[in-house]
Symmetry: C2
Subunit: 473 residues, 2 copies
Amino acid sequence: MLLETCLAIGGIAGAILAMKRWQIKKRDIKGDRKAAYLSRITNTTGDKPPNIIIVLCDDLGFGDIGCFGNASIKTPHVDILARHGMMFKNCNSSAPVCSPYRAGLLTGRYGIRGHVAGVFFPSGLLSLLISPFFYSRGMRGLSPDEITLAEVLERAGYATGMVGKWHLGDRRPHLPNDFGFNHFFGAHFSNDMVPYAIYRNRDVAIPAPADQDVLTQQLTKDAISFIDSSVRSGKPFFLYYAQPFPHDPLHASPAFRGKSLAGLYGDAVEELDWSIGEIIATLKHHGVFDNTMIIFTSDNGPWHEGNPGYQRGRKYLPFEGGSRVPMIACWPARIPPGTTCKSPCSHLDIFPTILSLLGIAPPQDRVIDGQDISPILSNPQIATNQHPYHYIPLKNAKAIRKGKWKYHSRHGSDNAAYFLLRPGPFLFDMEADPQEAYNLAMNHPDIAKELASELEQFNASLKKNQRGWILRA
Amino acid sequence: MLLETCLAIGGIAGAILAMKRWQIKKRDIKGDRKAAYLSRITNTTGDKPPNIIIVLCDDLGFGDIGCFGNASIKTPHVDILARHGMMFKNCNSSAPVCSPYRAGLLTGRYGIRGHVAGVFFPSGLLSLLISPFFYSRGMRGLSPDEITLAEVLERAGYATGMVGKWHLGDRRPHLPNDFGFNHFFGAHFSNDMVPYAIYRNRDVAIPAPADQDVLTQQLTKDAISFIDSSVRSGKPFFLYYAQPFPHDPLHASPAFRGKSLAGLYGDAVEELDWSIGEIIATLKHHGVFDNTMIIFTSDNGPWHEGNPGYQRGRKYLPFEGGSRVPMIACWPARIPPGTTCKSPCSHLDIFPTILSLLGIAPPQDRVIDGQDISPILSNPQIATNQHPYHYIPLKNAKAIRKGKWKYHSRHGSDNAAYFLLRPGPFLFDMEADPQEAYNLAMNHPDIAKELASELEQFNASLKKNQRGWILRA
């Protein structure tokens, strides 16, 4: 009996390893292209480029902060960013779920292009067993040939630091320090995964299980320390501050626990807001607040708690509640204060926009799915353009947004009570009907047909050239 | 092979029949109690009681009509009812899904008490096969010993008519004419079920498949004809007008098709609004508008299309989007015009409230789950009381509302992407947080504990005495 069990396990393991080897062969990693691109980037720091801070919350809903209409949670420091900067009311994240989203934010490309086709689970038996089937070609982290914002900025002369949740792989060559961050302090994955340890660069700083109650305090301290040392070094800096909250399970330090009017969720968000206040104070202390671009946002819609702000659906769904998130860009030296942008845009745009602001040409060997929206930063009234944004929960697009129109292919219901049903297709006018309530496909058959075809072509292109490689002429 | 198949089918059929026989024995039908109660009701029509019309829409969302904030769908006639009557902003239906809801509306008791524990499918093999497992004790319609509003009003001297969708059984003794309606014109079940025929009383009037495009026109004509003949007869009347729309599949007549700004859904709602206009005109023509109580509402939240009006979730779910519906009560002779009631109430209250208005004692042999809210009809400012309302999608309660608090037990996620998860329990302050976003269970452990216990006791009482029989002293 023991022999048979061993043989069976051995057989399964062998099959998995064989499949993985086959997948690795098929992965078409193009590290040489990446190296060639990065080597061409020159130091831009002579032009006094802005410092860049991205504050990314985890599962924070569109309606969870004061300046976006929340009355129960006090976010005075986020509200300061809004008063000094631009609020984006029509910004979608790059994916409605964690890992694909983070790939999209850092690369300007849909997660699937970098083999990020789902949430990465911690390395271990489960991850190993599901990897051949669940992950894109078995890859358990962001593909090493993807080019991240940190790598570009590092080449351009920035000090690059990351604080918080990574979630793009928990082993080499998928770690923050493998992707251009000189400094890392945080966790490899979500705060509901185990073993939840906190790393400083490649070493464990706080062994699992880390006390999450004090996590925001620790991350804030580290973020400030990174800013301090970067300013002292005379370099511009890029800080990617990926807050682990208000992702479930919720935590807050004793000073914030029970203080908000919105339960532990509100406490966590108010502590996160405090953290932003500390960062603003540090920037002001160093006299660099005016020339720092702070982008405040969230990765996707809310999960079990949280307020999607009158959008339909929640996290993971291709409805707006899954990916419409609050975004603020504050950069007093450049962005007009107290402004609001209503044009559709996406976090995919952050990579090409920052490159454009710094005068760095984007990679030419691969599709960049986002677009340069830097003109909007000077004038939020610029009319909606027709750049298409796709809604890709996992491996292919379920919906497409173009201008005011959003088209859903037939896909699984958003309603758990009817999860077996596949209603649609739907065409929604997102200006007249932001809640995706009324199907206009019959009223505008030409638009529905055009978008259906574009969505289909996009999915076909993903099948044919998932990585989006552009062949050199 | 044929023999084995026949034997297997025979065996399964035999087992089902045996189980059904056993279930029928266990059904504890108490027809004598019902007869005794009804026999005690005396004719009340000497006091000029109001005519009563309930206009029930199917799957219409809280945000789908003009006076409840919709800008795309024009509902001038429903809006007239609001201007002449009272809008209920905090009214929940008796269940978030069709058949249990309709049982609750007509009896003032949760559907499960009358063996309505799910949606009834048309009689046939599917219905037969699932009935032992899916339906409460295999009953495929409202239990014959349930007392409906129509039966009470018929005994009180009213002409009773029903037009539209029944959905409480498609065979005797479960049909509208078995439950106090002298007149019936409509369908036995939802418009997505087959064979979809239209009946006049017990006979097929329009064979399946009935043309649903002209259904609202036909139902309107019949409703008006019923009002005409009732007024001519000198009797007060009760009309239950159960609109089949905007339940999917959507239909509208050529005059309305493509006319709204909200697709076919909006067209169907605008035609339904027209229908209400025709009814108002008929009442005015007969000079009886002032002494007619018109209740306009919906059975549950929206399904694939439609706007739940900033509530969380949709049809079938124990979140508000499943059962918070628009309700208007218009009765110029009694209800102050242009008023709004914000106190929590339920469609379960309609049965005891109408009985109270007519001075008829409710049945004493069974629990009535609703409460008499007739004082609110004169003064909508009456403070919220502590009557508990339960959220029962099928056989037991998943959540409880009491005053401003709503408590969810741990139950399946509302989010189809996480349908396997069971988050919670949650305690929500429905005044501060109507979107059920922030769990306050940790902030108010006493309230959470009290409501958890009340919910548990209620579910235990359903197990012990599902029918809610009250033993005579």
